[in-house]
Point group: D5
Chain length 129, copies 10
Amino acid sequence: MTTQPSKELETFPNPNPERDFLIRIDVPEFTCLCPKTGQPDFATFQIEYIPESRCVELKALKLYMWSYREEGAFHEAVTNQILSDLVAATAPRFMRVTGKFNVRGGIYTDVIAEHRAPGWISPDYITLP
Amino acid sequence: MTTQPSKELETFPNPNPERDFLIRIDVPEFTCLCPKTGQPDFATFQIEYIPESRCVELKALKLYMWSYREEGAFHEAVTNQILSDLVAATAPRFMRVTGKFNVRGGIYTDVIAEHRAPGWISPDYITLP
Amino acid sequence: MTTQPSKELETFPNPNPERDFLIRIDVPEFTCLCPKTGQPDFATFQIEYIPESRCVELKALKLYMWSYREEGAFHEAVTNQILSDLVAATAPRFMRVTGKFNVRGGIYTDVIAEHRAPGWISPDYITLP
Amino acid sequence: MTTQPSKELETFPNPNPERDFLIRIDVPEFTCLCPKTGQPDFATFQIEYIPESRCVELKALKLYMWSYREEGAFHEAVTNQILSDLVAATAPRFMRVTGKFNVRGGIYTDVIAEHRAPGWISPDYITLP
Amino acid sequence: MTTQPSKELETFPNPNPERDFLIRIDVPEFTCLCPKTGQPDFATFQIEYIPESRCVELKALKLYMWSYREEGAFHEAVTNQILSDLVAATAPRFMRVTGKFNVRGGIYTDVIAEHRAPGWISPDYITLP
Amino acid sequence: MTTQPSKELETFPNPNPERDFLIRIDVPEFTCLCPKTGQPDFATFQIEYIPESRCVELKALKLYMWSYREEGAFHEAVTNQILSDLVAATAPRFMRVTGKFNVRGGIYTDVIAEHRAPGWISPDYITLP
Amino acid sequence: MTTQPSKELETFPNPNPERDFLIRIDVPEFTCLCPKTGQPDFATFQIEYIPESRCVELKALKLYMWSYREEGAFHEAVTNQILSDLVAATAPRFMRVTGKFNVRGGIYTDVIAEHRAPGWISPDYITLP
Amino acid sequence: MTTQPSKELETFPNPNPERDFLIRIDVPEFTCLCPKTGQPDFATFQIEYIPESRCVELKALKLYMWSYREEGAFHEAVTNQILSDLVAATAPRFMRVTGKFNVRGGIYTDVIAEHRAPGWISPDYITLP
Amino acid sequence: MTTQPSKELETFPNPNPERDFLIRIDVPEFTCLCPKTGQPDFATFQIEYIPESRCVELKALKLYMWSYREEGAFHEAVTNQILSDLVAATAPRFMRVTGKFNVRGGIYTDVIAEHRAPGWISPDYITLP
Amino acid sequence: MTTQPSKELETFPNPNPERDFLIRIDVPEFTCLCPKTGQPDFATFQIEYIPESRCVELKALKLYMWSYREEGAFHEAVTNQILSDLVAATAPRFMRVTGKFNVRGGIYTDVIAEHRAPGWISPDYITLP
């Protein structure tokens, strides 16, 4: 595996596909560039998902998050893009991506986007905090 | 864009209208005047919304919040006014505005108002915290 | 308006009766007397309500809370009394009063009482935290 | 009333039986003995209930909690015993007892038990936090 | 009982099987080895369950958690394994295991897995926090 | 001992006068009246002292603090008065009184006053936090 | 006394000039304008002083802080100006002014300035936290 | 070693007497009886010391603290007694005992006592927090 | 002023050189590259200084911190470099730079470096926290 | 460099030996064995030092801390041993090692040991927190 930033999201087989279980990943080190000013933006991301057959490999996820370091990215679009890329790579039963962006102009912004597999029913005992 | 206080609320197209996602904005720097005494009031505002086709532009939002600096405003009315103005500008699927006003006379007051687009059903997987 | 303690609860017209919105008021400065020993008791009160046509005036509320300073009051009874008085004055759609009483004999006590207007249905989008 | 430890749980009439309201009591000073080693155990207890016709008297509750000081008690059994005794004394609409036991062997244990009066329906507006 | 690490999970009879009650156990001292690098991993585990006829003995649980000290274990697999072993030993009505793994490569990971006895219905008054 | 408010400050003999040791007392329940408006003021007091031959009796201290409930008192004056009264009653080697007054007009005020017995030297190992 | 913003700093006689004591005042509601952009700035101020013969009147202090609302002010200059004005009004033995300015451009700034009366020696028992 | 409460304080040789180093021990589980009312009192104790030739054995310390469970003890006296007993057992270069007693009558009390070996000079690099 | 990263540190005249006062600046958004692996590192920086004749301009400081984004930098060296560059630009009476680096390999590192102008004596009333 | 546990403590040259500066390292993942029972112990270590000519390499430090995983170690002895090993490897001007050991038998223990180079004087502007 390379240690270069990369859009590749490697996965590994879900060890317990017979059971709905939640994986919650916190990535406090995210930076991209403001598309308007070119100046650095910083955010913390949280990824929560219930895997189907594939789990995301953590080192690959780190390189993926790194890949935004030199890219211009709007808050709303980048959060949705990360969700779409992770859904494409892992086809999860459920996934939620939360981006918490650092203060700009005295204003703090969070963006929260969710995906749900078609036809999949959330069991009532899955409490998503 | 001007850097004067302004009631104009510029918007930009929602980059992902195919998906319900939540935008949460914290504005800790709000001040207006007490309509009874003319003295300054201070509050923190939180705006949460699920956009339909338009998102609110953050710099314009900052100028909008600034526009109350010289206005007299009651806690209940100003919170509802901000909600109404933001709904008029963005026509969101869902919006909630929370104003947390600084202590006056030993008493703290929050005002929380919500809007929901007619006919729009909150998906059960949108957990509004 | 007098600055004497008073059981009068002045109100003003709800500026936005067309919408369900929540007002949350924190009163950290409440003191009464223990009916058994005559010694001072201290509590923090929280009042949450969805107004119908009237809102409670905050300065009058302060004088009302002050009116308990020389009265003997049991924890359970005084919390219910405050709820009943506020309901009588404002006829709200919903109201919840929480009294958090300071430790006595190594024991802390909270009392939480709610009122709901007959026939009024809580909209599912009102999240009472 | 005696100031000796006692299994007696005195009660007083509920001042507002016409209304469902919650009483929450925190007892941070509980100690008993480990039935296996005879060494002291320490816990914090929380009691939450919606009274029917009787409320528990707080000074009697303190003496009751004291009564475990010289008794051997397992975590699970003592929490259920306290719930059963309080239910027997007050016949509440709802009661929940939570015991939070201090760390032993690097492990922390909480036990949470609830009672509900037969045929009593929790109103949807009672939010038990 | 031995003080060696052990996969044996001793149990004792549930003292109150007539009632649904929750036992919550926090184990902040868990360490295993990374299967890829052989280096130590650290985690905090939380186990929550509603017992049927057997409760897990806490000292045996400590030795069981210790048994992973020299084993290679992936985050997702080991959390599911602990759930499966505890379910096999106690056959609970409900059980949830949460593993909170220390930061690796700037990324934090939690894994949350639940079990529910077939045919068992969660009473609506069991609030699992 | 009476359970009426009282300016009497009972004392008891210092059990260890051969040693400099610190007693720190927190009194979170203090209320008096504003001399200008007659409205209630609230404060938290902390008393720290190194006794000489007398220690202040805690129940008497409680009644003493209660004695301000119906009195008008300025922040600066009342803190100094409490220090003077406690010094007169106990003649300590060292005493510090801190009054933390609740917010008024958006402003918080603390007053901190100290006394030191003439000729008494603070040992360098007394770290007054 | 007027309720207009004012540069006047009224004082009252120190009730206990025979003793060194500290007054600590927190003013969380301060706003001025950025001299470069004209946009609002927000800060929290703390004032600590040991009075000589005059104490600052709190309501006048509030009006004084309000007087900066429409003025352009640099962080460093305004903190020093407030110190100079308060020293001119009260001639204290010691005074320290701390301004904590809200984040701008991802950067937080505090400014801390102190004054000491010529020839006045800080007693070693004044611990300025 | 027995598992009965005991006034014996076993010690072991200081492994590094050539160096001044600090040992800080927190004992959150202390209970005794109020000498006036016979009711239980609870406290948290902290013991800090720089050993000379002996260190206190932790299991013996636990049994020693347990020995107060059935004894009446005043706050000031018991803190000084614990210091005296630990000094007699270990003859340390420095020792400080802090007792933090639970609230009684709305009042919290801490007692802090220190011992220093005759002729021993605190090195300036020992920062006792 | 450009909005490109820059090693230039613009300054402005100290408005109050007649007085020792402290400026404390927090920069939570710092990122550079690990010189060994090329992967991103993240840190929070704090700069504290007492200016002589020049203060550092905050927007220039932001661009200066940005200039490390594409550079390899060791924790110890970069903290000292920032101190040296700021001292060269402002010639302060006192300056302290603290770098708090994010966890790597389970280990957290802070680096704290100070500068003092030759011949300048810290006044005893400057309490550097 | 190996990824096996190792007692070797690699170092690198201090990049700024002309200046006293502090390096503070937190190692929250330390585990060894209790010499009496053979059961795992857990601790958090903090290392603070002012380097002379050598700094400790962080990856080597991680392997060194790992080397205690299978060793029996008393709290007091292992903290002093780590200090002695780090001093031998780096010959610092100043070093302080703090071990914070997890609760055992209801008791928490910290051990804090310091080293100072002979003849080296702590500059008064090094504030060791």
